[in-house]
């Protein structure tokens, strides 16, 4: 085999998979936009605001993505629906805003619809500050570094986290979330794919038909 043939061969082999798995998917999905229902005046998915976008970067930066996925597979491919982690499978259109943090490891539950399951910001703050105060056997790291313990001056802050147990603040002190913690919780609350899309109708609507 001539040297030239060899180099053309290895380049072609590489280019083949690159075109197949990087260029073609980009061509197929790159221009995907939201689903606009003009009659009902609805646009899905909802665009994300600045706070949620900042929360997404906190989510990636804290490495949440290494233990939590944001993928709901259909019933044939996985058990998320029967676990009520969503009302339908997730599809490419769900992720058109911001960089998706799909994740590949599930040391904890899936978060694709955590905003629909848990709507209480205070719960998230408590859970992030001391996960074991909510789930005694949890092995999620605590994110106390996203909070600060401050002296109560005058009235207690309206954001103050109600912490009980081992890490409860001393008398006259309060636990206050940092801007990063607030953004992260805003992001978690925004994670909700319960709306219906043409390519993936939500379960309850299917039942109504």
């Amino acid at each position: 085999m001539r040297t030239k043939t060899f180099f053309i061969g290895i380049t072609a082999c590489f280019a083949f998979s690159w075109i197949g798995l990087a260029v073609l998917p980009n061509g197929q999905l790159g221009g995907l936009g939201p689903q606009i229902d003009e009659e009902a005046g609805e646009v899905f998915p909802l665009d994300i605001n600045g706070l949620v976008e900042r929360g997404r970067t906190v989510y990636v930066s804290q490495g949440c993505v290494h233990c939590h996925t944001q993928v709901v597979r259909d019933g044939f491919n996985g058990g998320e629906l029967s676990r009520q982690w969503g009302v339908r499978r997730t599809v490419p259109r769900d992720y058109i805003y911001g960089s998706p943090a799909l994740g590949d490891t599930r040391n904890g539950p899936d978060l694709a619809n955590v905003g629909a399951r848990i709507t209480d910001a205070q719960w998230h703050y408590q859970h992030l500050y001391d996960p074991r105060s909510v789930f005694p056997k949890s092995f999620m790291p605590s994110f106390r570094h996203l909070f600060s313990v401050k002296k109560v001056t005058g009235q207690i802050s309206e954001d103050a986290v109600k912490v009980t147990g081992k890490y409860a603040p001393a008398e006259g002190m309060q636990v206050v979330p940092s801007p990063d913690a607030k953004a992260l919780v805003a992001y978690l609350l925004s994670l909700d794919h319960s709306y219906s899309l043409q390519e993936a109708p939500a379960k309850k609507e299917e039942a109504a038909k």
Partner: protein
């Protein structure tokens, strides 16, 4: 010159070959030892990071409340340092030396290789700090932010151009199979970095994780595998003293490997928010990979035939044999785990992590250790001091990583199966993997003494405190071809 007997001819030819080999070795001594030394340094760091992160999963209050040491950062710091700090520089050193030996070229201006290696190490150090500071991307094997990838890209060009230079200056003759793999790795790596990082930066939505998964698969199954297989094609015939049995089989294996391996990385997106054809072609490619892997394994086994006893005696062959077996096992397990009925259980579990460890450590790192046991005595001019040290290293690495991988595979199956059954509560499903996480943490701790022994042994060699050159250090009575 009539009357000179042919035996004198062959003696002088052998002497000339020996002189040539020692010139090649001398020209690469500093660059290759620099690469190996820094790789071993990063191996230590990554071992500690691996132990810390696996301990944090079972003991979450360890180093808790500190952003830099939260699990979500220590874990990617571990995997990135293992791949980019240890595995790749070790692979570059091994393939540079083997390429120079195969092409019979003494390298000139080797200072550039040292500079390039330093640049690479700077990239790994900056990358480690940036991940711990929270600048990681969150994509497996692609954790470094783009600025670090740019640094590594430049460093790669500086160092690995030399493999191409060596090839261009090769003495006329047969181009060995090992050389094909090294050349392919040299060409594929910069492409992978460029297309991967530019692809993710310019794509939107789920195309980003698709390209990242393609990149990760390419990094493992295309680039890393090519370097490790190349080293095996060098070591097995060299140490046994027999040529590779079938050239045609090796050629067919190479081209089918090159064709399929790049497609294998996206099986983990099955059922996810991507068009179904993407994981489907990836599953097909993973199944097809059995063909080249079977051909390679058959070729190695037939070449080893009659010499399997060397696994007991030769440190190089013992490590290389373990690596080759791990590679074949990895291909078979990847096939089983990507089939639909199994994939739905293991998709997001520790099984994937276990397979990655089988690839990076069980296969690649073990082959690199074997190659280092072969190369370093030839560079420093003395033999390994102690066969006991080598034995400790081997058993520590084999048991430590072997049990860690076993824990991840079984634990992943247990936890994955629990998640699939809605009647098992979330708390119980999470707990299902817990005993295996304990097993993994304990197993990984075994690697610390194993790597420390090897590091110490390496230092002794650098200081020329080994046994006098001559007979190689063997683990049992036996012999190695030179």
């Amino acid at each position: 010159m009539t009357g000179v007997s042919s035996s004198t001819d062959s003696v002088s030819a052998r002497e000339a070959a020996n002189v040539e080999r020692s010139l090649v070795d001398a020209s690469l001594k500093l660059p290759v030892l620099t690469l190996f030394g820094s790789a071993l340094f990063w191996l230590m760091i990554s071992t500690v990071l691996g132990v810390v992160s696996s301990l944090k999963l079972i003991w979450p209050e360890l180093l808790s409340g500190c952003a830099w040491f939260t699990y979500g950062r220590v874990w990617p710091a571990y995997t990135s340092t293992l791949l980019y700090g240890w595995a790749i520089p070790a692979g570059i050193g091994v393939s540079l030396w083997m390429a120079a030996r195969l092409c019979r070229v003494a390298v000139t201006r080797q200072g550039w290789i040292v500079i390039g290696s330093m640049l690479w190490n700077a990239g790994v150090a900056v990358g480690l700090l940036m991940i711990l500071a929270g600048k990681g991307t969150g994509y497996a094997w692609m954790e470094y932010p783009p600025v670090v990838a740019a640094l590594l890209f430049v460093a790669w060009l500086v160092v690995s151009t030399w493999t191409l230079v060596i090839f261009a200056k090769r003495r006329p003759g047969h181009v060995f199979i090992a050389m094909w793999y090294f050349l392919a790795a040299v060409v594929w790596f910069p492409w992978l970095i460029l297309t991967g990082y530019f692809g993710v930066a310019n794509a939107t939505g789920v195309v980003q994780p698709i390209i990242a998964a393609w990149f990760g698969g390419g990094m493992m199954n295309l680039f890393l595998a090519a370097t490790g297989i190349g080293a095996l094609y060098y070591l097995v015939p060299k140490v046994t003293g027999k040529p590779i049995v079938s050239y045609n089989l090796a050629s067919a294996a190479f081209w089918s490997f090159a064709l399929f391996a790049g497609w294998t990385g996206l099986t983990t997106l099955t059922g996810g928010p991507v068009p179904a054809w993407i994981p489907t072609v990836s599953i097909a490619a993973t199944i097809m990979m059995i063909v080249p892997v079977a051909m390679m394994t058959a070729n190695f086994a037939l070449t080893m035939k009659g010499n399997f006893a060397m696994v007991h005696g030769s440190p190089t062959i013992r490590f290389a044999f373990f690596g080759a077996a791990a590679y074949a096992l990895c291909a078979v397990l990847s096939l089983i785990f990507c089939l639909h009925s199994v994939e739905k259980i293991v998709q997001f579990s520790m099984v994937q992590t276990g397979l990655n460890h089988l690839m990076v450590y069980g296969f690649f790192s073990m082959v690199m250790f074997g190659a280092m046991y072969y190369i370093i005595p030839r560079l420093v001019g003395c033999e390994w001091l102690s066969s006991t040290f080598i034995r400790w290293h081997f058993w520590g690495a084999a048991y430590g990583m072997g049990m860690a991988i076993f824990s991840m595979l079984i634990g992943g199956l247990a936890a994955g199966a629990a998640w699939l059954q809605p009647e098992i509560t979330k708390e119980m499903a999470i707990q299902a993997g817990y005993p295996y996480m304990v097993g993994r943490a304990i197993s990984l701790i075994l690697l610390i003494p194993a790597h420390m022994v090897f590091g110490l042994h390496f230092l002794l060699m650098i200081l020329r405190m080994g046994r006098p050159a001559g007979e190689p250090t063997l683990l049992a009575h036996g012999e190695e071809a030179h």
